[in-house]
């Protein structure tokens, strides 16, 4: 019975992995083969599909981090903390890619690698917060203390999200708000967002499983001590 269940779970995992990587591969293929070349920036414009998709995933990860942290605060159930930690790490990864891809695009579009413009600055600040939370979690051994620190910092870090989202409206800068796009470009952008969202969602789930397993190992080790 257990073996049958294990085999069924393995097949399920393979199907999910296959689906996600298909979506991601499809998105990448669309970016390079289907999306038209932009008139002004040429092929460099294709960075937009990665940049916007990954930023959207980062924002979703931050919201998940905040929601899971709030759920942990109310229930004290460590499962919520594992999800929060996984979301934090994936969010940090997403914003790393966002900042890197944004820099590349800025260099092509504006001729500079970086400018202290409202949206870029608030994105960098959010990345610093997420990196700080990851480092703080890594430096605490006790599970409950780690969960508490992570939850509180996550709730405080969420304060930067409204600034990041509304920065281009509140502070006029050079970052584009909602540029006009060719319908094919819109389709590719939606496809890219779907593919990357599936990928990072799977990554979050896998990371959560890892964290859960690590916590169980730690518990067993402590019982042995």
């Amino acid at each position: 019975m257990r073996i049958t269940q294990s085999v069924a779970n393995t097949w399920k995992q393979l199907i999910v992995f296959g689906l996600v990587f298909s979506l991601l591969a499809g998105a990448i293929l669309m970016i390079f083969l289907y999306a038209p070349t932009e008139a002004t920036m040429g092929h460099a414009q294709r960075i937009l599909y990665l940049h916007v998709s990954v930023t959207w995933c980062g924002l979703a990860a931050c919201l998940a981090m905040g929601a899971c942290s709030a759920a942990y605060m109310m229930s004290r159930n460590l499962v919520w903390d594992y999800w929060s930690q996984a979301s934090t790490e994936v969010g940090c990864l997403c914003f790393t890619i966002t900042l890197a891809s944004g820099s590349l695009w800025a260099h092509e579009a504006w001729g500079v690698w970086w400018t202290w413009e409202a949206r870029l600055t608030s994105a960098l600040v959010l990345w610093l917060m997420l990196a700080g939370i990851c480092l703080a979690r890594a430096s605490v051994d006790d599970l409950q203390s780690r969960a508490r620190i992570g939850a509180v910092l996550a709730v405080l870090a969420i304060c930067d999200l409204p600034i990041l989202i509304m920065a281009t409206r509140w502070f006029r800068g050079v970052h584009p708000i909602a540029p006009q796009m060719d319908p094919r470009m819109r389709i590719v952008l939606l496809g890219a967002m779907l593919g990357f969202t599936a990928f990072f969602a799977l990554l979050t789930r896998q990371r959560r499983s890892q964290i859960d397993l690590a916590a169980r190992v730690l518990t067993v080790e402590r019982m042995g001590e």
Partner: protein, 228 residues
């Protein structure tokens, strides 16, 4: 809990902390000394013309306040934890919110004292008129202190029971304080210019938003932070 009782408890906690600090002198003198040393070091290195200096001094001031303030923040709860006073404090019929605001008030008072030393020092060593518009500067300082105090009380309570809190505290505080420091520095930069740009008010609004958000969230999560 009745508001009158909460206010009295708040006041008693503030007085108790101030009395303990003035008798032991554990953190405030170190904070003031570090602040002054940083002023001297920074001013020695920044060899710029007046116009360029006006652009950087405001940032240096708030960075100095932040780093010197971490010495005081580090000791905010360790005094309570030393003899187990923290647990008995939580057993009194006092809301954790009152404790949060008491600690934040003590932190703000410490920061005000620090700024009373650092601002004249910066004015003397850099020749930049930081107090050209004193009321506007007071507004910026008040909001920055409020944001800093709220976050630092929460972080200090969070890390108080950890053995390596001294290294963890700046690591946690700095990213969260970045918007506050940036907004305060930007607002102060506009204040020292000859003409007050309207952008000054935008930065003050941003600073105010963060101060209010951090204070509200801090008061809400503090009970969770201190509960075992």
């Amino acid at each position: 809990m009745q508001p009158g009782h909460a206010l009295k408890a708040f006041w008693r906690l503030v007085v108790k902390d101030l009395v303990c600090e003035f008798r032991l002198c554990r953190s405030w003198p170190g904070m003031l000394l570090l602040g002054l040393v940083l002023v001297l070091l920074l001013e020695m290195q920044v060899d710029l013309g007046t116009h360029e200096k006006q652009q950087v001094v405001s940032g240096l001031l708030w960075l100095d306040v932040f780093f010197a303030g971490t010495l005081m923040v580090d000791r905010l709860f360790s005094g309570e934890r030393e003899e187990g006073c923290w647990r008995s404090l939580l057993l009194y019929p006092v809301s954790p919110t009152a404790v949060f605001f008491a600690k934040a008030t003590v932190t703000i008072l410490a920061l005000v004292l620090l700024e009373c030393v650092l601002v004249p020092a910066f004015i003397v060593f850099s020749n930049i008129p930081l107090l050209r518009r004193p009321l506007c500067f007071l507004t910026v300082a008040l909001l920055a202190n409020l944001g800093y105090a709220s976050v630092s009380v929460v972080i200090s309570a969070l890390t108080a029971q950890l053995s390596h809190r001294s290294s963890l505290l700046p690591l946690l505080l700095l990213p969260l304080m970045t918007p506050v420091i940036m907004a305060a520095a930007a607002a102060t930069r506009f204040l020292v210019a000859a003409d007050l740009d309207e952008q000054w008010w935008r930065w003050v609004q941003l600073l105010g938003c963060f101060a209010v958000m951090f204070t509200t969230l801090g008061a809400l999560v503090f009970e969770f932070v201190v509960e075992d």
